[in-house]
Protein backbone atom coordinates (compact mmCIF):
# COMPACT_ATOMS: atom_id res chain seq x y z
CA UNK A 1 0.00 0.00 0.00
CA UNK A 2 2.95 2.34 0.39
CA UNK A 3 4.44 3.79 -2.78
CA UNK A 4 8.13 3.83 -3.55
CA UNK A 5 8.22 7.57 -3.02
CA UNK A 6 6.72 7.15 0.46
CA UNK A 7 9.23 4.50 1.35
CA UNK A 8 12.12 6.60 0.09
CA UNK A 9 10.84 9.64 1.99
CA UNK A 10 10.74 7.83 5.33
CA UNK A 11 13.94 5.85 4.79
CA UNK A 12 16.48 8.15 3.21
CA UNK A 13 16.65 11.07 5.68
CA UNK A 14 17.16 9.00 8.84
CA UNK A 15 19.53 6.57 7.13
CA UNK A 16 21.63 9.40 5.70
CA UNK A 17 21.69 11.22 9.05
CA UNK A 18 22.65 8.13 11.02
CA UNK A 19 25.31 7.21 8.47
CA UNK A 20 26.85 10.66 8.76
CA UNK A 21 26.47 11.40 12.48
CA UNK A 22 26.85 7.90 13.95
CA UNK A 23 28.51 5.48 11.57
CA UNK A 24 31.12 7.93 10.26
CA UNK A 25 32.21 9.09 13.74
CA UNK A 26 32.55 5.50 15.01
CA UNK A 27 34.60 4.61 11.90
CA UNK A 28 36.64 7.77 12.35
CA UNK A 29 37.45 6.67 15.88
CA UNK A 30 38.62 3.37 14.44
CA UNK A 31 40.88 5.21 11.95
CA UNK A 32 42.28 7.51 14.63
CA UNK A 33 43.33 4.51 16.69
CA UNK A 34 45.94 3.66 14.03
CA UNK A 35 47.37 7.17 13.77
CA UNK A 36 49.89 8.90 16.02
CA UNK A 37 50.88 12.30 17.40
CA UNK A 38 54.09 14.08 16.37
CA UNK A 39 56.37 15.94 18.78
CA UNK A 40 54.76 19.20 17.63
CA UNK A 41 51.35 17.78 18.58
CA UNK A 42 49.95 17.31 15.10
CA UNK A 43 48.15 14.13 14.08
CA UNK A 44 50.27 11.92 11.80
CA UNK A 45 48.10 9.91 9.44
CA UNK A 46 50.53 7.04 9.24
CA UNK A 47 48.82 3.70 9.77
CA UNK A 48 50.29 1.41 12.41
CA UNK A 49 49.41 -0.70 15.42
CA UNK A 50 51.66 1.15 17.88
CA UNK A 51 48.72 2.38 20.00
CA UNK A 52 47.37 -1.11 20.47
CA UNK A 53 50.89 -2.34 21.28
CA UNK A 54 51.16 0.35 23.95
CA UNK A 55 47.87 -0.77 25.50
CA UNK A 56 49.26 -4.27 25.89
CA UNK A 57 52.66 -3.24 27.20
CA UNK A 58 51.94 -0.35 29.52
CA UNK A 59 50.54 -1.86 32.69
CA UNK A 60 48.48 1.11 33.80
CA UNK A 61 46.08 0.80 30.85
CA UNK A 62 45.02 -2.78 31.22
CA UNK A 63 45.23 -2.63 35.02
CA UNK A 64 42.80 0.28 34.95
CA UNK A 65 40.62 -1.61 32.51
CA UNK A 66 40.61 -4.60 34.86
CA UNK A 67 39.75 -2.36 37.79
CA UNK A 68 36.88 -0.85 35.77
CA UNK A 69 35.59 -4.31 34.94
CA UNK A 70 35.81 -5.27 38.62
CA UNK A 71 33.96 -2.12 39.69
CA UNK A 72 31.30 -2.70 37.00
CA UNK A 73 30.96 -6.34 38.07
CA UNK A 74 30.37 -5.35 41.70
CA UNK A 75 27.82 -2.74 40.62
CA UNK A 76 26.06 -5.36 38.50
CA UNK A 77 25.85 -7.93 41.29
CA UNK A 78 24.65 -5.38 43.84
CA UNK A 79 22.07 -3.96 41.40
CA UNK A 80 20.72 -7.45 40.80
CA UNK A 81 20.65 -8.25 44.53
CA UNK A 82 18.71 -5.04 45.15
CA UNK A 83 16.63 -5.09 41.97
CA UNK A 84 15.50 -8.72 41.73
CA UNK A 85 13.77 -9.15 45.11
CA UNK A 86 12.22 -5.71 44.64
CA UNK A 87 10.85 -6.67 41.22
CA UNK A 88 9.62 -9.96 42.68
CA UNK A 89 7.92 -8.19 45.55
CA UNK A 90 6.21 -5.70 43.22
CA UNK A 91 5.10 -8.31 40.75
CA UNK A 92 3.69 -10.85 43.22
CA UNK A 93 2.98 -9.15 46.55
CA UNK A 94 2.30 -5.46 45.96
CA UNK A 95 -1.35 -5.91 44.98
CA UNK A 96 -3.16 -2.66 44.25
CA UNK A 97 -0.10 -0.55 45.05
CA UNK A 98 1.87 -2.14 42.21
CA UNK A 99 1.58 0.76 39.74
CA UNK A 100 2.42 3.38 42.32
CA UNK A 101 5.47 1.48 43.57
CA UNK A 102 6.61 0.91 40.00
CA UNK A 103 6.51 4.66 39.40
CA UNK A 104 8.46 5.16 42.62
CA UNK A 105 11.28 3.01 41.25
CA UNK A 106 11.29 4.96 37.99
CA UNK A 107 11.24 8.46 39.49
CA UNK A 108 14.91 8.49 40.60
CA UNK A 109 15.83 7.86 36.94
CA UNK A 110 14.42 11.30 36.16
CA UNK A 111 16.62 12.96 38.73
CA UNK A 112 19.84 14.12 37.16
CA UNK A 113 22.63 11.59 37.23
CA UNK A 114 25.10 14.30 38.19
CA UNK A 115 22.91 15.55 41.01
CA UNK A 116 22.60 12.09 42.53
CA UNK A 117 26.35 11.49 42.35
CA UNK A 118 26.83 14.88 43.98
CA UNK A 119 24.32 13.96 46.71
CA UNK A 120 26.43 10.91 47.61
CA UNK A 121 29.47 13.14 47.79
CA UNK A 122 27.75 15.36 50.37
CA UNK A 123 26.77 12.25 52.33
CA UNK A 124 30.12 10.43 52.30
CA UNK A 125 32.58 13.30 52.73
CA UNK A 126 34.73 13.65 55.86
CA UNK A 127 32.48 16.49 57.06
CA UNK A 128 29.55 15.01 55.16
CA UNK A 129 26.16 14.01 56.49
CA UNK A 130 27.04 10.43 57.40
CA UNK A 131 30.28 11.16 59.21
CA UNK A 132 28.84 14.06 61.18
CA UNK A 133 25.85 11.89 62.07
CA UNK A 134 28.16 9.21 63.47
CA UNK A 135 30.01 11.81 65.52
CA UNK A 136 26.76 13.39 66.66
CA UNK A 137 25.66 9.97 67.91
CA UNK A 138 29.13 9.44 69.45
CA UNK A 139 29.68 6.29 67.41
CA UNK A 140 32.99 7.61 66.10
CA UNK A 141 35.31 10.40 67.25
CA UNK A 142 36.95 11.10 63.91
CA UNK A 143 35.47 11.08 60.42
CA UNK A 144 35.83 7.83 58.47
CA UNK A 145 38.08 8.95 55.65
CA UNK A 146 37.76 5.85 53.52
CA UNK A 147 34.13 6.52 52.61
CA UNK A 148 34.77 9.15 49.97
CA UNK A 149 37.46 9.10 47.27
CA UNK A 150 37.57 5.34 47.06
CA UNK A 151 36.32 2.56 44.78
CA UNK A 152 33.70 1.94 47.48
CA UNK A 153 32.16 5.38 46.87
CA UNK A 154 32.11 4.77 43.12
CA UNK A 155 30.48 1.32 43.49
CA UNK A 156 27.88 2.68 45.93
CA UNK A 157 26.97 5.60 43.68
CA UNK A 158 26.82 3.57 40.48
CA UNK A 159 24.73 0.91 42.24
CA UNK A 160 22.34 3.65 43.31
CA UNK A 161 22.12 4.91 39.73
CA UNK A 162 21.81 1.57 37.90
CA UNK A 163 19.56 -0.41 40.28
CA UNK A 164 16.41 0.91 38.52
CA UNK A 165 17.96 -0.13 35.18
CA UNK A 166 18.46 -3.65 36.50
CA UNK A 167 14.99 -3.65 38.02
CA UNK A 168 13.08 -2.71 34.85
CA UNK A 169 13.71 -5.73 32.60
CA UNK A 170 13.46 -8.15 35.54
CA UNK A 171 10.09 -6.71 36.50
CA UNK A 172 8.93 -6.91 32.86
CA UNK A 173 10.02 -10.58 32.68
CA UNK A 174 8.23 -11.43 35.95
CA UNK A 175 5.07 -9.66 34.80
CA UNK A 176 5.03 -11.77 31.64
CA UNK A 177 5.00 -15.08 33.50
CA UNK A 178 1.52 -16.59 33.03
CA UNK A 179 0.00 -16.80 36.50
CA UNK A 180 -1.66 -20.14 35.76
CA UNK A 181 1.81 -21.73 35.53
CA UNK A 182 2.37 -20.80 39.15
CA UNK A 183 -1.08 -22.02 40.09
CA UNK A 184 -0.36 -25.31 38.37
CA UNK A 185 2.91 -25.65 40.25
CA UNK A 186 1.12 -25.12 43.58
CA UNK A 187 -1.68 -27.52 42.64
CA UNK A 188 0.85 -30.19 41.78
CA UNK A 189 2.23 -29.96 45.29
CA UNK A 190 5.34 -27.80 44.91
CA UNK A 191 6.33 -25.69 47.89
CA UNK A 192 6.63 -21.92 47.33
CA UNK A 193 10.43 -22.30 47.26
CA UNK A 194 10.24 -25.05 44.65
CA UNK A 195 7.83 -22.99 42.59
CA UNK A 196 10.22 -20.07 42.70
CA UNK A 197 13.35 -21.98 41.74
CA UNK A 198 11.79 -24.33 39.19
CA UNK A 199 9.18 -22.09 37.56
CA UNK A 200 9.56 -18.38 38.29
CA UNK A 201 13.32 -17.92 38.36
CA UNK A 202 14.10 -19.77 35.10
CA UNK A 203 11.41 -17.76 33.31
CA UNK A 204 12.86 -14.50 34.60
CA UNK A 205 16.42 -15.19 33.46
CA UNK A 206 16.17 -13.20 30.20
CA UNK A 207 15.20 -10.17 32.30
CA UNK A 208 18.12 -10.78 34.66
CA UNK A 209 20.53 -10.97 31.72
CA UNK A 210 19.12 -7.76 30.24
CA UNK A 211 19.32 -5.92 33.56
CA UNK A 212 22.84 -7.18 34.23
CA UNK A 213 24.00 -6.08 30.78
CA UNK A 214 22.59 -2.61 31.32
CA UNK A 215 24.19 -2.16 34.72
CA UNK A 216 27.53 -3.57 33.62
CA UNK A 217 27.94 -1.74 30.33
CA UNK A 218 26.80 1.65 31.60
CA UNK A 219 28.93 1.56 34.73
CA UNK A 220 31.97 0.23 32.86
CA UNK A 221 32.22 3.37 30.74
CA UNK A 222 31.43 5.88 33.47
CA UNK A 223 33.91 8.66 34.09
CA UNK A 224 31.98 11.25 36.08
CA UNK A 225 31.38 9.26 39.27
CA UNK A 226 35.09 8.30 39.51
CA UNK A 227 36.13 11.94 38.91
CA UNK A 228 33.71 13.16 41.57
CA UNK A 229 33.98 10.40 44.19
CA UNK A 230 36.71 7.99 43.18
CA UNK A 231 39.95 9.67 44.16
CA UNK A 232 43.23 8.22 42.83
CA UNK A 233 42.32 4.62 43.73
CA UNK A 234 38.94 4.85 42.02
CA UNK A 235 40.17 5.89 38.57
CA UNK A 236 38.42 4.04 35.75
CA UNK A 237 39.34 3.44 32.12
CA UNK A 238 37.22 6.30 30.79
CA UNK A 239 39.11 8.73 33.02
CA UNK A 240 42.30 7.76 31.21
CA UNK A 241 40.58 8.38 27.89
CA UNK A 242 39.39 11.80 29.09
CA UNK A 243 42.91 12.79 30.08
CA UNK A 244 44.33 11.50 26.78
CA UNK A 245 41.85 13.68 24.92
CA UNK A 246 42.49 16.61 27.24
CA UNK A 247 45.74 17.49 28.93
CA UNK A 248 47.84 14.63 27.56
CA UNK A 249 46.71 15.41 24.02
CA UNK A 250 47.10 11.95 22.57
CA UNK A 251 43.87 11.46 20.62
CA UNK A 252 45.04 8.36 18.73
CA UNK A 253 45.85 6.44 21.92
CA UNK A 254 42.57 7.63 23.47
CA UNK A 255 40.76 6.47 20.34
CA UNK A 256 42.43 3.04 20.57
CA UNK A 257 41.20 2.61 24.18
CA UNK A 258 37.72 3.86 23.24
CA UNK A 259 37.58 1.46 20.33
CA UNK A 260 38.52 -1.44 22.60
CA UNK A 261 35.69 -0.39 24.91
CA UNK A 262 33.33 -0.22 21.93
CA UNK A 263 34.30 -3.75 20.90
CA UNK A 264 33.94 -5.01 24.46
CA UNK A 265 30.47 -3.49 24.78
CA UNK A 266 29.22 -4.68 21.40
CA UNK A 267 30.62 -8.14 22.15
CA UNK A 268 28.83 -8.19 25.51
CA UNK A 269 25.56 -7.10 23.91
CA UNK A 270 25.87 -9.83 21.33
CA UNK A 271 26.67 -12.40 24.00
CA UNK A 272 23.77 -11.34 26.23
CA UNK A 273 21.40 -11.45 23.27
CA UNK A 274 22.42 -15.04 22.58
CA UNK A 275 22.00 -15.93 26.25
CA UNK A 276 18.57 -14.32 26.38
CA UNK A 277 17.49 -16.28 23.32
CA UNK A 278 18.68 -19.47 24.89
CA UNK A 279 16.67 -18.83 28.03
CA UNK A 280 13.47 -17.49 26.51
CA UNK A 281 10.65 -19.97 26.17
CA UNK A 282 8.32 -17.83 24.14
Amino acid sequence: MFSRAYKAAVTLPPVAWVAFFLLTPYLLMFCYSFWSVSASLTILHSWNLANYGELLHVGVYWQTLLRSIWIAARVTILSLLLGYPLAYFLSFYAGAKKDLLYQLVIIPLWVSYLVRAYAWKTILGSDGVFNTLLQYLHVTKHPLEFLLYSPFAVVLTLTHIYTPFAFLPIYAALEHIPRNLIEASHDLGATPAQTFWKVIFPLSIPGVIAGATFAFVLSLGDFLAPLLLGGPSGIMISNIVVSLFGAAYNWPLGAAISFCMLLLVVGLLFFSEQLEKKWSYA
Binding site: F2, P108, G221
Partner: protein, 278 residues
Protein backbone atom coordinates in the same frame (compact mmCIF):
# COMPACT_ATOMS: atom_id res chain seq x y z
CA UNK B 1 -2.13 -18.55 42.22
CA UNK B 2 -4.14 -18.47 45.43
CA UNK B 3 -5.93 -15.20 46.17
CA UNK B 4 -3.67 -14.27 49.08
CA UNK B 5 0.00 -14.99 48.48
CA UNK B 6 1.95 -16.29 51.45
CA UNK B 7 3.15 -13.41 53.59
CA UNK B 8 6.73 -12.59 53.05
CA UNK B 9 8.13 -10.29 55.68
CA UNK B 10 11.69 -10.16 54.45
CA UNK B 11 10.63 -9.23 50.89
CA UNK B 12 8.71 -6.27 52.28
CA UNK B 13 11.68 -5.34 54.46
CA UNK B 14 14.03 -5.60 51.48
CA UNK B 15 11.72 -3.39 49.39
CA UNK B 16 11.68 -0.75 52.14
CA UNK B 17 15.48 -0.83 52.30
CA UNK B 18 15.85 -0.47 48.53
CA UNK B 19 13.41 2.42 48.38
CA UNK B 20 15.33 4.00 51.25
CA UNK B 21 18.57 3.58 49.32
CA UNK B 22 17.03 5.09 46.17
CA UNK B 23 15.45 8.07 47.94
CA UNK B 24 17.88 8.84 50.77
CA UNK B 25 20.28 10.92 48.64
CA UNK B 26 17.41 12.81 47.04
CA UNK B 27 15.85 13.54 50.43
CA UNK B 28 19.18 14.69 51.88
CA UNK B 29 19.85 16.82 48.84
CA UNK B 30 16.55 18.64 49.24
CA UNK B 31 16.84 18.92 53.03
CA UNK B 32 20.28 20.49 52.85
CA UNK B 33 19.18 23.00 50.23
CA UNK B 34 17.58 24.73 53.25
CA UNK B 35 20.62 24.31 55.49
CA UNK B 36 22.31 27.57 56.44
CA UNK B 37 25.53 25.77 57.45
CA UNK B 38 26.48 24.25 54.11
CA UNK B 39 26.05 20.92 52.34
CA UNK B 40 27.13 18.55 55.12
CA UNK B 41 26.96 18.48 58.89
CA UNK B 42 24.45 16.71 61.08
CA UNK B 43 22.01 17.86 62.31
CA UNK B 44 21.07 20.56 59.78
CA UNK B 45 21.27 24.06 61.27
CA UNK B 46 19.58 27.39 60.63
CA UNK B 47 17.02 26.44 58.04
CA UNK B 48 16.92 29.21 55.49
CA UNK B 49 15.85 30.15 51.98
CA UNK B 50 19.12 32.00 51.42
CA UNK B 51 20.46 29.47 48.96
CA UNK B 52 17.37 29.85 46.84
CA UNK B 53 17.78 33.62 46.98
CA UNK B 54 21.43 33.28 45.96
CA UNK B 55 20.35 30.97 43.17
CA UNK B 56 17.80 33.40 41.78
CA UNK B 57 20.42 36.14 41.74
CA UNK B 58 22.97 33.88 40.02
CA UNK B 59 22.94 34.87 36.36
CA UNK B 60 25.47 32.22 35.24
CA UNK B 61 23.09 29.45 36.37
CA UNK B 62 20.13 31.03 34.62
CA UNK B 63 22.10 31.52 31.41
CA UNK B 64 22.96 27.83 31.49
CA UNK B 65 19.31 26.93 32.17
CA UNK B 66 18.26 28.93 29.11
CA UNK B 67 21.01 27.23 27.06
CA UNK B 68 19.88 23.81 28.24
CA UNK B 69 16.25 24.53 27.42
CA UNK B 70 17.20 25.65 23.92
CA UNK B 71 19.42 22.61 23.39
CA UNK B 72 16.74 20.24 24.67
CA UNK B 73 14.05 21.78 22.47
CA UNK B 74 16.22 21.68 19.35
CA UNK B 75 17.45 18.14 20.09
CA UNK B 76 13.85 17.04 20.61
CA UNK B 77 12.83 18.44 17.21
CA UNK B 78 15.76 16.76 15.45
CA UNK B 79 15.18 13.41 17.16
CA UNK B 80 11.49 13.45 16.34
CA UNK B 81 12.00 14.66 12.77
CA UNK B 82 14.33 11.71 12.15
CA UNK B 83 13.06 9.17 14.65
CA UNK B 84 9.44 9.13 13.47
CA UNK B 85 10.33 8.47 9.79
CA UNK B 86 12.91 5.93 10.99
CA UNK B 87 10.14 4.08 12.87
CA UNK B 88 7.95 4.15 9.76
CA UNK B 89 10.88 2.88 7.69
CA UNK B 90 11.54 0.02 10.13
CA UNK B 91 7.83 -0.86 10.21
CA UNK B 92 7.01 -0.58 6.51
CA UNK B 93 9.99 -0.85 4.24
CA UNK B 94 12.85 -3.17 3.63
CA UNK B 95 16.18 -1.87 2.47
CA UNK B 96 19.72 -3.19 2.41
CA UNK B 97 21.42 -2.66 5.77
CA UNK B 98 18.13 -2.38 7.66
CA UNK B 99 19.30 -4.61 10.51
CA UNK B 100 22.54 -2.63 10.81
CA UNK B 101 20.59 0.62 10.73
CA UNK B 102 18.30 -0.50 13.56
CA UNK B 103 21.21 -1.52 15.74
CA UNK B 104 23.19 1.61 14.95
CA UNK B 105 20.29 3.87 15.94
CA UNK B 106 19.98 2.12 19.30
CA UNK B 107 23.70 2.02 20.02
CA UNK B 108 24.11 5.47 21.66
CA UNK B 109 21.52 4.49 24.26
CA UNK B 110 23.49 1.53 25.60
CA UNK B 111 27.02 2.62 24.68
CA UNK B 112 28.83 4.65 27.35
CA UNK B 113 28.31 8.32 26.45
CA UNK B 114 32.03 8.94 26.31
CA UNK B 115 32.39 6.86 23.13
CA UNK B 116 29.61 8.66 21.27
CA UNK B 117 30.83 12.03 22.54
CA UNK B 118 34.44 11.47 21.51
CA UNK B 119 33.66 10.06 18.09
CA UNK B 120 31.44 13.08 17.36
CA UNK B 121 34.23 15.33 18.63
CA UNK B 122 36.56 13.76 16.06
CA UNK B 123 33.99 14.28 13.32
CA UNK B 124 33.50 17.96 14.16
CA UNK B 125 37.24 18.40 14.48
CA UNK B 126 37.77 16.90 11.04
CA UNK B 127 35.07 19.12 9.54
CA UNK B 128 36.57 22.18 11.21
CA UNK B 129 33.29 22.86 13.04
CA UNK B 130 33.71 25.12 16.04
CA UNK B 131 32.32 23.59 19.21
CA UNK B 132 29.23 25.40 20.47
CA UNK B 133 25.71 24.72 21.65
CA UNK B 134 24.98 23.68 18.06
CA UNK B 135 27.40 20.75 18.25
CA UNK B 136 25.71 19.67 21.49
CA UNK B 137 22.31 19.89 19.78
CA UNK B 138 23.58 17.68 16.96
CA UNK B 139 25.03 15.22 19.48
CA UNK B 140 21.87 14.99 21.57
CA UNK B 141 19.61 15.01 18.51
CA UNK B 142 21.52 12.08 17.04
CA UNK B 143 21.95 10.06 20.22
CA UNK B 144 18.26 10.36 21.13
CA UNK B 145 16.75 9.41 17.73
CA UNK B 146 16.51 5.95 19.26
CA UNK B 147 14.04 7.17 21.89
CA UNK B 148 11.62 8.50 19.26
CA UNK B 149 12.12 5.46 17.05
CA UNK B 150 11.46 2.84 19.72
CA UNK B 151 8.45 4.62 21.24
CA UNK B 152 6.85 5.29 17.85
CA UNK B 153 7.72 1.84 16.51
CA UNK B 154 5.94 0.27 19.50
CA UNK B 155 2.93 2.47 18.71
CA UNK B 156 2.97 1.44 15.04
CA UNK B 157 2.82 -2.22 16.01
CA UNK B 158 -0.57 -1.58 17.60
CA UNK B 159 -1.82 0.72 14.83
CA UNK B 160 -4.60 -0.47 12.53
CA UNK B 161 -3.40 0.16 9.00
CA UNK B 162 -6.93 0.00 7.62
CA UNK B 163 -7.46 3.63 8.57
CA UNK B 164 -4.48 4.77 6.53
CA UNK B 165 -5.58 2.54 3.67
CA UNK B 166 -9.07 4.03 3.75
CA UNK B 167 -7.63 7.54 3.76
CA UNK B 168 -5.50 6.76 0.70
CA UNK B 169 -8.42 5.06 -1.08
CA UNK B 170 -10.59 8.08 -0.47
CA UNK B 171 -8.15 10.25 -2.35
CA UNK B 172 -5.92 11.78 0.34
CA UNK B 173 -2.25 11.82 -0.58
CA UNK B 174 0.50 10.39 1.62
CA UNK B 175 1.32 13.75 3.16
CA UNK B 176 -2.30 14.37 4.17
CA UNK B 177 -2.67 10.80 5.40
CA UNK B 178 0.47 11.13 7.49
CA UNK B 179 -0.65 14.30 9.24
CA UNK B 180 -4.36 13.46 9.57
CA UNK B 181 -4.30 9.73 10.29
CA UNK B 182 -0.85 8.45 11.21
CA UNK B 183 0.31 11.23 13.53
CA UNK B 184 -2.98 11.61 15.48
CA UNK B 185 -2.98 7.87 16.05
CA UNK B 186 0.57 8.02 17.35
CA UNK B 187 -0.08 11.02 19.57
CA UNK B 188 0.77 9.24 22.84
CA UNK B 189 4.06 7.64 21.78
CA UNK B 190 5.15 10.89 20.14
CA UNK B 191 4.38 13.01 23.20
CA UNK B 192 5.98 10.39 25.44
CA UNK B 193 9.11 10.32 23.31
CA UNK B 194 9.23 14.13 23.19
CA UNK B 195 9.03 14.38 26.99
CA UNK B 196 11.66 11.73 27.47
CA UNK B 197 14.04 13.22 24.89
CA UNK B 198 13.62 16.64 26.45
CA UNK B 199 14.36 15.34 29.94
CA UNK B 200 17.29 13.19 28.85
CA UNK B 201 18.81 16.09 26.94
CA UNK B 202 18.36 18.47 29.90
CA UNK B 203 20.29 16.01 32.05
CA UNK B 204 22.84 14.75 29.51
CA UNK B 205 26.46 15.31 30.44
CA UNK B 206 28.75 12.58 29.02
CA UNK B 207 28.28 13.57 25.35
CA UNK B 208 28.03 17.30 26.11
CA UNK B 209 31.26 17.07 28.10
CA UNK B 210 33.24 16.68 24.86
CA UNK B 211 31.19 18.88 22.55
CA UNK B 212 30.96 21.96 24.75
CA UNK B 213 32.06 25.33 23.39
CA UNK B 214 32.02 28.59 25.31
CA UNK B 215 28.44 28.39 26.61
CA UNK B 216 27.58 25.89 29.34
CA UNK B 217 24.50 23.74 29.62
CA UNK B 218 23.09 23.41 33.13
CA UNK B 219 24.71 20.03 33.94
CA UNK B 220 28.08 21.33 32.75
CA UNK B 221 27.66 24.54 34.77
CA UNK B 222 26.92 22.40 37.84
CA UNK B 223 29.87 20.18 36.99
CA UNK B 224 32.19 23.18 36.82
CA UNK B 225 31.03 24.33 40.26
CA UNK B 226 31.40 20.86 41.78
CA UNK B 227 35.03 20.91 40.77
CA UNK B 228 35.57 24.25 42.49
CA UNK B 229 33.86 23.45 45.77
CA UNK B 230 30.29 22.93 46.75
CA UNK B 231 27.55 25.09 48.22
CA UNK B 232 23.87 24.36 48.93
CA UNK B 233 23.08 26.51 45.89
CA UNK B 234 23.66 23.35 43.87
CA UNK B 235 21.22 21.52 46.17
CA UNK B 236 18.71 24.29 45.56
CA UNK B 237 18.92 24.12 41.77
CA UNK B 238 18.77 20.30 41.96
CA UNK B 239 15.65 20.46 44.13
CA UNK B 240 13.98 22.75 41.60
CA UNK B 241 14.88 20.40 38.72
CA UNK B 242 13.52 17.49 40.75
CA UNK B 243 10.17 19.24 41.20
CA UNK B 244 9.95 19.93 37.46
CA UNK B 245 10.82 16.31 36.65
CA UNK B 246 8.07 15.17 39.01
CA UNK B 247 5.61 17.45 37.24
CA UNK B 248 6.65 15.98 33.88
CA UNK B 249 6.11 12.44 35.21
CA UNK B 250 2.70 13.28 36.66
CA UNK B 251 1.73 14.97 33.39
CA UNK B 252 2.87 11.97 31.40
CA UNK B 253 1.20 9.51 33.73
CA UNK B 254 -2.16 11.25 33.53
CA UNK B 255 -1.90 11.36 29.74
CA UNK B 256 -1.08 7.69 29.62
CA UNK B 257 -3.81 6.65 32.02
CA UNK B 258 -6.31 8.74 30.07
CA UNK B 259 -5.11 7.08 26.87
CA UNK B 260 -4.45 3.42 27.43
CA UNK B 261 -3.02 2.89 30.88
CA UNK B 262 -0.34 0.33 31.52
CA UNK B 263 3.36 0.54 30.89
CA UNK B 264 5.36 3.57 31.80
CA UNK B 265 7.44 5.58 29.41
CA UNK B 266 10.84 4.11 28.88
CA UNK B 267 9.95 0.45 29.15
CA UNK B 268 9.82 0.02 25.37
CA UNK B 269 13.23 1.60 25.14
CA UNK B 270 14.76 -0.59 27.78
CA UNK B 271 13.33 -3.61 26.01
CA UNK B 272 14.37 -2.48 22.55
CA UNK B 273 17.86 -1.41 23.49
CA UNK B 274 18.41 -4.72 25.17
CA UNK B 275 16.81 -7.07 22.71
CA UNK B 276 18.07 -5.56 19.50
CA UNK B 277 21.16 -3.54 20.14
CA UNK B 278 23.79 -6.20 19.63
Amino acid sequence: MSATPPRSGWLLFHAVVVFGFLYLPIAILILYSFNGEGVGGFPPHHLTLDWYRALFADSAIWDSVVNSLQVALAAMLISLALGVPAALALDRTSFPGKALFRRLVLLPLILPGIITGLSLLMLFNLMGTKLSLLTIVLGHGTALISVATTEVFAGLQKLDRAQEEASLDLGANYWQTFWRITVPNLKLPIIGAALLIFTLSMDEIAVSFFLIGRDNTLPLEIWGRLRRGITPEINAVSAIIFVFSLLAIVFWYRLRVGGEGGASVGTEIVGAAEGDAA
